[in-house]
């Protein structure tokens, strides 16, 4: 008898839940699956969607994973991340608006996980401290946070699904050491109400900067100044939000910008993104997307130098949950040998091909084309993947950009059509700009038209 192989997964966020579900479906269809052990450092599943009020460290002294704020709403229409094997209608029992509060999104992700009977695979409050690859096996040293003990386990396969938006990148600026106000990263932003009446500086021009700016505006900050390094976001901002170029220095509570203008600040919020953070992996197993070099990931998942090592949920921005799910299916099929890997030569060439494609990305439209190609590439490989209208989702990226450009305060009030069921989402009577505090219940019970 062939001994059952052992698979370790680090993290129980959306990517990992997709992977465990994929294995579970195979099992229900009669296939033999590996023994799965998922180590999750939080006390519950859902990754970033598992909201915490904590910042810094948790009750065990471990770093807090969560980067979400209490009143966060999705910034993509939920149709863009709808699972084609678990539709919105199936979960909610009715059509819901396209943009939803955090709790609603969490409920949808968890609803699918619950249906899949995969919680039994997960060990909570366990942090993987180190991984070495010896004698064709992965040895994991794990810290059991609750019992405060360290233990070791050995696995045949390892999937790193520890997330991409949890360890902040915080650069240094001249004068920040004597800034008398508050300094935080968006990772530690928990609600906008506490910034009411204050002058806010936001460093960065990505999605966090955009969203935290309008959150602070919405909850009554006195002024919001977004500081970009290369290009402004460029929306038609409401009164009270402005964009300026480049932070030269801070003296006392006054920030000076490249054009010589200045702004008094009570708070500086770094919206400067997140690190690829794998100190626990031995050097030969580490992946670094930002370096744009080898070792890379074949099809965004299989580690170039070790085909028993996989990363999921690392390489996407525009189709988050969708790509996680495609990657999960792909990884499952590779591990179960339903999808044989090509030769190392082919793999190396394919990785180089995608790396050089990526090196040429200059504009948002380039990135959209790149990620769209990537999804189509995965879909070609995954013949049995549940059907959905991907072309529609590509269009939604453009539509969304246009809606934001038209009005950053109303883009969340728009309606989209499901790419799985064709249902057109209702609109909510209360507009986003007027919605202040929403629970799962209050949102689902509110009036849709």
């Amino acid at each position: 008898m062939i001994p059952i192989k052992r698979l370790a997964i680090i993290g129980a966020g959306p990517s990992s839940l997709s992977l465990m579900r994929a294995f579970r479906i195979a099992q229900l269809n009669g296939a033999k699956i590996p023994e799965i052990v998922c180590f999750e450092k939080q006390n519950d599943w859902g990754g970033l969607w598992n909201y915490t009020w904590r910042t810094g460290t948790d009750e065990y002294g471990d770093t807090v994973h969560g980067s979400m704020y209490h009143n966060l709403w999705t910034n993509n229409p939920i149709e863009l991340v709808e699972y084609s094997d678990y539709t919105l209608i199936e979960h909610f029992g009715k059509s819901i608006p396209s943009f939803v509060p955090r709790a609603v999104m969490f409920d949808y992700i968890i609803g699918r996980a619950n249906k899949s009977d995969i919680r039994k695979f997960i060990k909570f409050n366990m942090r993987v401290e180190s991984v070495v690859y010896v004698s064709h096996k992965f040895t994991l040293v794990v810290w059991d946070k609750k019992d405060n003990i360290m233990f070791t386990e050995v696995f045949d396969y390892l999937v790193v699904a520890s997330g991409r938006f949890s360890v902040p990148y915080i650069p240094e600026y001249q004068g920040i050491i004597t800034f008398p106000g508050r300094v935080l990263h968006s990772h530690d932003f928990r609600n906008a109400e506490q910034f009411k009446g204050m002058d806010i500086l936001i460093i960065g021009s990505g999605l966090s900067a955009e969203d935290i700016a309008i959150q602070c505006w919405k909850y009554g900050s006195k002024s919001v100044t977004i500081i970009y390094r290369h290009k402004p976001i460029g929306h038609n901002w409401p009164d009270g939000i402005k964009e300026v170029h480049y932070l030269e220095n801070i003296e006392g509570n006054i920030a000076s910008f490249r054009d010589g203008s200045q702004q008094t600040a009570d708070v500086i919020i770094f919206c400067t993104g997140y690190l690829f953070y794998f100190p626990f992996l031995e050097n030969t197993l580490k992946y670094d997307y930002t370096q744009q070099r080898c070792p890379g990931l074949y099809k965004g998942t299989v580690f170039q130098n070790n085909h028993k090592l996989f990363y999921i949920g690392m390489t996407t921005r525009l189709y988050p949950l969708l790509i996680f799910n495609l990657q999960a299916w792909f990884v499952r099929d590779v591990i179960m040998k339903n999808l044989p890997l090509p030769s190392q030569e082919y793999i190396d060439k394919d990785i180089s091909h995608w790396l050089s494609k990526r090196a040429k990305l200059n504009f948002p439209s380039d990135r959209l084309a790149y990620e769209t190609d990537y999804v189509n590439d995965l879909l070609l490989l995954l013949s049995g993947y549940p059907k959905f209208n991907f072309d529609l989702l590509c269009q939604y990226r453009l539509v969304l950009r246009e809606h934001k450009r038209r009005n950053i305060l109303t883009f969340r009030d728009q309606s989209y059509k499901s790419a799985v069921t064709g249902t057109v989402s209702p609109c909510r009577l209360v507009k986003w700009v007027d919605a202040k505090e929403e629970s799962l219940e209050s949102f689902l019970d509110s009036k849709f038209v």
Copy 2:
């Protein structure tokens, strides 16, 4: 030829600096010392005294060690922590007041380290990820943060000097998840100016609570409410600071206390202390002071079950730098076999004796007696330790308590006499309550009388 033994030290704070200095002095006196490698996760030495503006994680994604705030002043007279082998006069070239800003204290600690030529032993930006004890050796897995690589080294001895006040303990309170204000631990408190005009809740009644309360008051917070669990601090607080018993719950931004009273809050500051945090040590090497059980530490340093493992800087509150230094001398002498360890039976008995002594500590005066006994016990063992008047320091603990009781706003303006040189400290013309922003230079150049 006997091969040179290798000693690893985790951390380069005051305890560690004392230990390296002790070895260096032995070496200068002609003794053969082990090869010392000190792994420090920060980019400079000084431990907590190495101030950082950062909170949460550093530029590499590692947890921030620092717990100090910009305008922190010592809460002990500096005479209490004066090194008898490196006097205040020797360092500063003149008498200075007894209570000093953070930067002055840091300068003193570092001045002694600089004189000892020990920086060469330290590897900065290195975090120890795991330690196992195999074949009579300690194998350390270390993360080199700057180059983002993991490496392994083997040592004969290990000294854990990673600190006691760096990983916060943060309990959960009912309603905190929907509190619309700011929540932080004293570990992340960087200055009081940012809390001007706000209603502050402080949870806890230890030294952090006491000091952060008067800092917030001094820099203009609207109100400060200190919430104690067992006993109030009991000072004569100035108007604007009050103490209340037990936080029952928080609803919105209103906190309710045991006596039924309520307080609106903008900010909640947890002054709830720090964790003993050794997830990187394998289970058989872990020490836990809070459990008050074996395995314990012989003379507060030698690990009961493994006499090649030492902890320093873990077991004291009242004579911090002094005890660190005594422990350092003791550990050096044990490692160099100048102080032979007694039998295991004696060690076990001695540890039990001190554990049962400690279990009976009920009042502050008990703790003072306990720690005073401990210092005297160490002094008896260390015959060559540089002379100082320890009885005077014991009195200072009582005097300090009395000064605080009389006036928490003026205790830092009092004068003490050096227990090493007998010099009486001058007083400063500007009183602590009026001193807002102090650098090393501005303090040393100011008028003393």
